[in-house]
Amino acid sequence: MSTAVSIRGVHKHFGELHALNGVSLDVPQGSFFGLLGPNGAGKSTLINIMSGLMKADAGTVSVMGHDVAGAYREARHALGVVPQELVYDPFFTVREVLRLQSGYFGHGPENQPWIDELIETLSLADKADANLHDLSGGMKRRVLIAQALVHKPDVVVLDEPTAGVDVELRQALWQFTRRLHADGRTIVLTTHYLEEAEALCEEIAILNRGQVVAQESKTALLARCPYRILRLTLAQSDYRLPESLQALVTEAEGNCLSLRLHKTDHHMGDVFKALQTAGIEVTDLRTEESGLEEVFLDLTTDQPAETARS
């Protein structure tokens, strides 16, 4: 699969702070790519360098094969960025800013049908002639997305698109980004909501303290955490758990019990045998695979996942 965004050995300093320390990663073309990391990890700095808003101290970045410094025109044509902040120009209406943004990219009246389509698709039709100053936060967010898409970029970067938006808009944005991806675009998403990345992204990179600590498929990343949770409902609430299982307990309340099992070391059969031997009857059970959050914590904190989670 060819590469949509290629980042090679990027360094960026802000005074004493080494914000990006030799970052290299590849975003495959057509992928839904998650760029995760705790606050201050360097995600926004990396996106700013990718989009030409900031210059790297060293290293190269290319978008669809175009170097963002040497061939910036082509690179910017290939990239649409939805900024994290709700920025807007208070002098203009929704339709006017979309026309202007389209014009900055060299498009003229021939792009008007696409602008109209964006207005419709993002449910902005009622507000198309309203000044941006008068729109709600959610509507402003939709306008930002429309502005990023107005020149039909191959790669769309969404920097924390759902930060501070209500559930309804979040669902709508998820649906819309899925549609963009289905249309063949490469999506790069940064988010603080790990469930969002888990639900949407196929490929994930995790940044920590300016370095890439992981880049692999979501499946491979999730497989890094060798635990699963076994949630049991017991027939009685006064029970005496066998010693062999006591160390595995993560939650115990009334007749509900949760055990954390290592996928290879702890066999489900052994657990049930031990329960049966102790005379404990199980009335219901379910298992949960470990989530991205556990892997994320494991990779971005100094402590192991077990400690970080507790």
Partner: protein, 256 residues
């Protein structure tokens, strides 16, 4: 894709004009009224008492000075206030994300400042000639100095707008640099009426050459040689343009 992105540059230029036309009371009407108030007050107070050039009334002498002062202040304000607002509001990002080059950015902002400067000056002229007889001896000089003056101050406004990080710094630049230099450049007097040392000092003020060359266009006479004024103005414009283009190319304070 057009590699020069001429449509992109034109769009940014048109947007800058659109922006100031949306608030034309503030950007066009107010400076015209201010200039006319100066004309009313100083013209009435000094008419008949002062004759700067032979056969030219003081009110007539004052009008080109006020026109150029309007150009200086409004061309500067156009690019500087647009930039600082865009930086503070964060919406400059939309232009920075686009494929418009540093040169294109420079051309669009400077050209929009020229349009505003010339529009305000034209409005002052059209209203003033209703009340005062004003000759027009060398139309080329009027046009050339109006355009070059607007461009020079548009570029200076661009530099100030990129440099300033808050409105306060820009206000300082405007009030402690632009305003004194424009007031002390011969708007209200001929530098020949100044004592020796101040005549010499005035000759180091580039705004003096803008006003003097512009005034030559109306009266066919001036304090300095019009070609000298043109030369100084061009050197000033090219020097400032080089600084502005270098700042934009390096991304100084906007792509750091």
């Amino acid at each position: 894709m057009n590699s020069a992105n001429l449509r992109g540059i034109y769009t940014l230029f048109a947007k800058e004009i659109w922006r100031f036309m949306k608030v034309f009371v503030q950007t066009i009407l107010t400076p015209v009224v201010t200039a006319l108030l100066y004309l009313l007050v100083f013209g009435q107070a000094l008419e008949g008492n002062v004759e700067v050039y032979k056969g030219v009334t003081y009110s007539a002498f004052l009008i080109p000075g006020l026109m150029m002062m309007s150009i200086i202040q409004n061309a500067f304000a156009n690019s500087s206030s647009s930039l600082i607002q865009s930086k503070m509001m964060g919406n400059l990002v939309f232009v920075l994300l686009s494929p418009i080059s540093s040169l294109g950015f420079f051309i669009a902002f400077t050209a929009a400042a020229v349009v505003r400067g010339v529009l305000v000056a034209l409005a002052v002229y059209l209203v003033a000639i209703l009340f005062v007889d004003l000759p027009l001896e060398a139309g080329w000089a009027v046009l050339v100095f109006a355009v070059l003056g607007s461009a020079t101050l548009g570029v200076l406004g661009l530099i100030a707008g990129v440099w300033a990080e808050k409105f306060d710094q820009l206000a300082g630049f405007q009030n402690f640099f632009i305003l004194p230099l424009s007031f002390l450049s011969g708007v209200f007097y001929s530098i020949h009426s100044l004592p020796g040392i101040w005549q010499t000092v005035s000759q180091f003020n580039p705004f003096f050459y803008l006003i003097d060359g512009f005034r030559y266009g109306f009266f066919g006479q001036s304090d300095a040689e019009p070609m000298l004024s043109l030369g100084v103005t061009l050197v000033f414009l090219f020097g400032l343009s080089a600084v502005a283009l270098l700042m934009l190319h390096k991304g100084y304070k906007i792509r750091e």
